[in-house]
Subunit: 114 residues, 2 copies
Amino acid sequence: MTSRGAIDEAKKGSAEVVILALIEHESHHGYEIAKLIELRTDGDLTFTLASLYATLYRLEDRGWIKGRWVEKAGQRRRCYYRITEAGRKVLARQREDWSRFVAALGQVAGVKYA
Amino acid sequence: MTSRGAIDEAKKGSAEVVILALIEHESHHGYEIAKLIELRTDGDLTFTLASLYATLYRLEDRGWIKGRWVEKAGQRRRCYYRITEAGRKVLARQREDWSRFVAALGQVAGVKYA
DNA sequence: CCGGTATATATAGTTCTCCTGCATATAGGA
DNA sequence: TCCTATATGCAGGAGAACTATATATACCGG
């Protein structure tokens, strides 16, 4: 997986809020989350699978998400994650923080959000 | 210096574009740049001085900025930085990239830029 | 039926940016 | 004289992303 230019730097720290948002309303498994991120941002934002799984384990350790293993015939086993109540609070907070950060960046660095 | 919540994570990688933007039109020395960032973002975005100087040296190594030492009576010596031609190109590119990243984040994570 | 691609998860080791803590140095006010 | 603000600099470490590699299954073409 490749990503583009300075987005390599920009996206540091964004994995958490992105993942939490994606499993806010429906549960998804790791591989699916990676594909969704890529799809919904037209490839502007991607995370390597290794990073993504590491992040999922971290979020689960913190109690912000909860995984459930599902085994189906004709499929490799998958772990479906959903957000927890604690996770919802964190998500709300992170959205505010990111929003404030983006505003600050516009102010001081002239980054326009088209 | 303290910073607020998830902005700790968010801001990773943002120092470069912020510094380049601040010395786009006029030269500033390190300490001044730190104060400007804090001032212009109402304290939402800050960098510790140690990080800031490290970043300045890195940017100069890459040829994106150029420092000039100024000694004045009644003042500690200061290094004033200005952006280079190469730096201007990088700044333009980083603004585009950050803009695209912010759009992606709004799309996939529901981050609203007020 | 055999090999390649897509799906799906997992670990190890590395890189990069920012951090804290410490050190140095000068000017001005209490 | 001591404390604060100004101003720069280094050493060591934390954390989140990366690459590379390993494992395992389903599906499709030749």
